[in-house]
């Protein structure tokens, strides 16, 4: 474990450095990227197996003992998210390599690997300040990726994204400073024991500050509007990896900090209200849009609401539902954006009135979209159904009937907007068609590598649906570890 756990972060960083050195040699850069992510993925699978057998495990860095030095901790939640996240990252990387001209800039591969390192570090760090550093690594990489190419659109939308996130980072830093003033430590396991001595109102204020910080990262109502504004401007593989991972890192941090630092034994009205509004406002925004990428961006917001719902219940069943939902969302959301990339590649646009009839031209993209969209809407037997079912059951268990009703209603609206994409993109004809490049009726071949990567990721979501039983069991165990964090705290103090 001493080598394997840090390797999840070190391997992408090391290969990022090598990729910088291989500047100008695209085939070498591609190989380095794929190897770097694969090594991290292999290490994360080994970590998952170890954690599943022997419980949470911790590694201290630089030979400083636990409360002072930085600790890396992997519990079941971290390990599960690492594996799912890295599988997704690998699929998107292959997609980007297959897409013509997407990795043509020498900066793409090193920055992409840095992003992977930042995301991995956020999942396994056991230190609040180190979580801030991990966020910054992820963010600065994402700043570069979202403005990659430096076109007018990218710069305009990237500016909003950069400023909002920098502001949130300052707020995070303030929250960290105040936590240190209260408890005198940054180690999360140590904080769990020490922050209890603080007066109630102080703890509530801190919890709300963290809710705002992670709420902006996760795009929770009412601080979500930056996301649908900035995401659609980026290229398909970049927005795919952002959609799949970045908001989910926010949700993970919220989950970790709320359960470890500010535990509660009854459902939180604030969380449930925010969850309800996030779901409804997100899905209504999606229905109002006329572009595939913009619809999907609003859906990111809407689906975050379900995870907040699970966290807000503060029961084992609720958190298990949130974890299950997270595991399902990462690949599903990413694959939907990859399909939008396939559509853009074959039709030249993702605006609903400019494309149409793609079911005949790219039948594979239509099938892939259909599978992922049904999964997102939560239609049985797909993975979204399992996630939503566990959340609904948890909601009934905690007697939170209103929010359960809202979540079911939002599912219907989700299905509606997916049908809207289906009608606009895959059926019918384009109202204001792009300049026709092919004769109608011919089948356009999107590059095989891109299609292959999307097929792989969609089949991952199908596998999640097939293995729903064991994965839900793991989610319940992860949730038990969050509600009663003694295993996590023991793992850190044993070091």
């Amino acid at each position: 474990m001493r080598i394997l756990l840090p390797l999840v972060v070190v391997a992408p960083l090391l290969f990022a450095a090598l990729a910088v050195m291989a500047h100008g040699h695209r085939p070498i850069q591609r190989a380095l990227s794929v190897i770097g992510v694969s090594v991290a993925l292999a290490a994360s699978v080994a970590v998952l197996i170890e954690v599943e057998r022997n419980g949470p495990t911790a590694v201290t860095l630089g030979a400083w003992p636990a409360p002072v030095g930085i600790t890396l901790v992997a519990d079941l939640l971290s390990a599960l998210l690492l594996v799912v996240g890295l599988v997704t990252v690998l699929a998107v990387l292959v997609f980007a390599v297959g897409q013509k001209g997407d990795d043509h800039l020498p900066a793409f591969h090193p920055v992409y690997l840095a992003l992977v390192a930042g995301v991995s570090l956020s999942f396994i760090t056991g230190d609040l300040f180190n979580l801030f550093v991990a966020f910054e690594i992820t963010l600065v990489a994402s700043y570069v990726l979202i403005t990659l190419g430096g076109g007018r659109q990218q710069v305009r939308h990237g500016t909003t994204y950069v400023i909002i996130n920098m502001l949130t980072s300052v707020a995070f830093l303030v929250a960290i400073a105040l936590v240190y003033a209260v408890a005198g430590t940054m180690n999360m396991a140590d904080l769990a024991g020490r922050i209890g001595v603080a007066p109630d109102h102080l703890r509530t204020a801190l919890a709300m500050l963290f809710l705002v910080v992670f709420g902006v990262k996760a795009a929770v109502f009412p601080v979500f509007s930056w996301l649908p504004d900035s995401y659609p401007a980026a290229r398909a593989p970049i927005v795919a990896v952002f959609a799949g991972l970045l908001t989910k890192v926010g949700v993970y941090s919220l989950l970790r900090v709320q359960t470890l630092l500010f535990p509660s034994d009854r459902p939180s009205v604030i969380f449930l209200t925010l969850a309800g509004f996030t779901m409804i406002v997100g899905v209504l925004g999606a229905i109002a849009q006329n572009d595939m990428k913009r619809i999907l961006s609003f859906h990111i917001v809407s689906q975050i609401g379900y995870m907040i719902l699970g966290i807000g219940l503060f029961t084992v069943a609720g958190i298990a539902g949130a974890v299950m939902f997270l595991i399902h969302q990462i690949p599903v959301k990413t694959s939907l954006f990859l399909v939008s990339g396939l559509v853009e590649e074959s039709a030249g646009s993702t605006a609903l009135d400019r494309v149409g009839g793609l079911v005949r031209r790219t039948p594979i993209a239509a099938v892939l979209f259909g599978l992922a969209a049904l999964s997102l809407a939560g239609i049985p037997p797909f993975s979204g159904f399992v996630g939503k079912l566990s959340l609904v059951e948890a909601g009934f268990g905690a007697h939170a009937y209103v929010i359960v009703g809202v979540s079911l209603f939002v599912s219907l609206l989700t299905l509606f907007s997916m049908v809207k994409i289906w009608n606009g993109v895959f059926w019918g004809t384009a109202e204001q068609p792009m300049v026709p490049t092919v004769a109608p009726g011919t089948i356009v071949r999107t590059p095989r590598v891109m299609t292959g990567a999307t097929v792989f990721l969609v089949s991952v979501t199908v596998v999640i649906a097939v293995l729903a039983g064991p994965i839900y069991e793991l989610s319940v165990r992860a949730a038990e570890g969050l509600v009663d964090p003694s295993g996590y705290i023991d793992a850190v103090s044993r070091r």
């Binding site: 700043y143 430096g150 007018r152 305009r156 909003t160 502001l167 300052v170 830093l173 400073a177 940054m186």
Partner: protein
């Protein structure tokens, strides 16, 4: 000392927030810099009263020692905020090169709504013209 520190942090945050509410990109950059300075000072302030340097051998058993952890945190935070400010400056420069304007452009969707409103107004006028014509 702590009060002075708190006052400085408050002033930095206040001016920073005022600056980032402007539409000009250079002011936003400066505002972000002020805000991150405020946060860094806050990190230093939470370390409590200052004392003897925390080197083994310098301080004795009963001495007041400065808490080194917030200083380490502040140092890291300074490096990060420096890099971020540099990136934001580069972005602002790029934006200026592209648009020859320091202001943040309106969003695509805002422009679309503005256009729709204009078109809608135009449509209404046409309709009223038509109805006026039929009345005659």
């Amino acid at each position: 000392m702590t009060v002075v520190m708190a006052a400085i942090v408050a002033v930095l945050f206040g001016t920073g927030v005022y600056m980032i509410l402007q539409r000009t990109l250079t002011r936003i950059v400066l505002g972000m810099a002020l805000l991150s300075h405020g946060a860094n000072l806050l990190l230093l302030a939470v370390g409590g009263r200052s004392g003897i340097a925390p080197f083994i051998g310098i301080f004795g058993a009963g001495d007041r020692v400065t808490d080194p952890v917030p200083q380490a945190l502040a140092l890291t935070a300074i490096v990060i905020s420096f890099a971020m400010t540099a990136f934001l400056l580069a972005l602002a420069y790029r934006s200026w090169r592209l648009t020859h304007d320091d202001e943040v452009e309106d969003d695509l969707e805002d422009r679309r709504i503005a256009r729709l409103a204009r078109l809608g107004l135009l449509g209404d006028e046409e309709e009223s013209d038509d109805s006026g014509g039929s009345d005659r």
